[in-house]
């Protein structure tokens, strides 16, 4: 793939049966093609097996880097209820991503406290989306 493209970091939240939420974080002016968008989704979905393997081998929620593709890393985090957060990011700072995931987890639990949101269902809340975008601006 062309190396003068900077790819945007991408967060995917996966439930037991389907993805629940997806967000891309623009980090500045860059070009993005249709191919890049599909490629990012493909990379994250194909990393799911690695996430499950990593989750079996440790009690930690933060699983660090579970997979790589070219110059991009897939970071993963599994909650107590087995909801998986995946981050596709060129950076390698594991501590920074850990802090990122902890804030995402907090935003997720706040969403869960909403009686109108059911566990393990797609997330449509715009305020959740705004919160995630703000967290990404702080950490990524």
């Amino acid at each position: 793939s062309p190396t003068n493209h900077r790819t945007m970091p991408m967060l995917l939240i996966v439930g037991s049966r389907e993805p629940l939420y997806e967000a891309e974080f623009s980090t500045g002016p860059q070009s993005k093609t249709e191919d890049t968008a599909h490629l990012n989704q493909f990379i994250l979905h194909s990393a799911m097996d690695m996430v499950d393997d990593a989750a079996q081998s440790t009690n930690n929620m933060y699983l660090r880097i579970v997979d790589r593709f070219n110059d991009q890393n897939v970071f993963a985090f599994v909650t107590a209820g087995n909801i998986r957060f995946l981050l596709l990011h060129e950076g390698r700072n594991e501590e920074q991503v850990k802090a990122f995931f902890q804030e995402v987890y907090e935003a997720y639990v706040k969403l869960l406290m909403n009686p109108f949101y059911s566990y393990d269902t797609p997330i449509c809340s715009t305020s959740f989306d705004q919160r995630i975008q703000a967290i990404a601006r702080r950490y990524l």
Binding site: N59, N60, M61, Y62, V78, T79, A80, G81, N82, Q102, Y105, E106, Y108, V109, K110, L112, M113, S118, Y119, D120
Partner: protein
């Protein structure tokens, strides 16, 4: 969410719970169905409760073994839900997959009197549902049921939550 020390009054819970039971009572045909409804509502609460209690513990870890998970549920989660740890957690001697949590007078049964036409109803089915929901989303699927054990020296009966792990 951060305010773990905020408590809900028992009477507020009792009122809400009684309304919920009455709501479902008008929509079912048997006591068994009512228990199923309470169980179902409890399950939805369970998954959310597990995440909330876990994030408040700030450990950022998950439980990997059944015993550890049940200990987490019967102590930390119980404390968060009911203000106390469960009276006891036991493993069945006959069947290795079965566990029991004892609780004398669960809050769902304190203020409930069962009419004769709903003879065997146990409102603690709601709590059984919460337990099942927690265990299920943590990948420890189990069938959880509430049973009343009459205690000869007390007016109220001891409740046992029977947990049959599915794998």
């Amino acid at each position: 969410m951060r305010d773990a020390d905020r408590h809900v009054s028992r009477s507020a819970f009792a009122y809400l719970f009684s309304e919920m039971v009455q709501y479902h009572t008008s929509r079912i045909r048997s006591a068994g169905e009512l228990e199923l409804k309470l169980h179902e509502v409890g399950q939805r609460v369970g998954a959310k409760t597990l995440e909330l209690v876990t994030i408040r513990e700030k450990l950022m870890k998950r439980e990997s073994g059944v015993i550890e998970m049940l200990q987490f549920v019967s102590s930390t989660c119980w404390k968060s839900l009911f203000g106390k740890v469960a009276d006891s957690l036991e493993r069945s001697t006959d069947c290795g997959n079965e566990y029991m949590i004892h609780e004398f007078e669960p809050i769902t049964n304190c203020f409930v009197s069962i009419p004769t036409d709903l003879g065997h109803l146990n409102c603690a089915a709601y709590i059984a549902g919460i337990l099942a929901g927690m265990l299920d989303c943590a990948h420890f699927p189990a069938v959880v049921s509430a049973h009343a054990m009459p205690a000869p020296d007390r007016t109220a009966s001891n409740t046992v939550f029977l947990i049959c792990m599915l794998d």
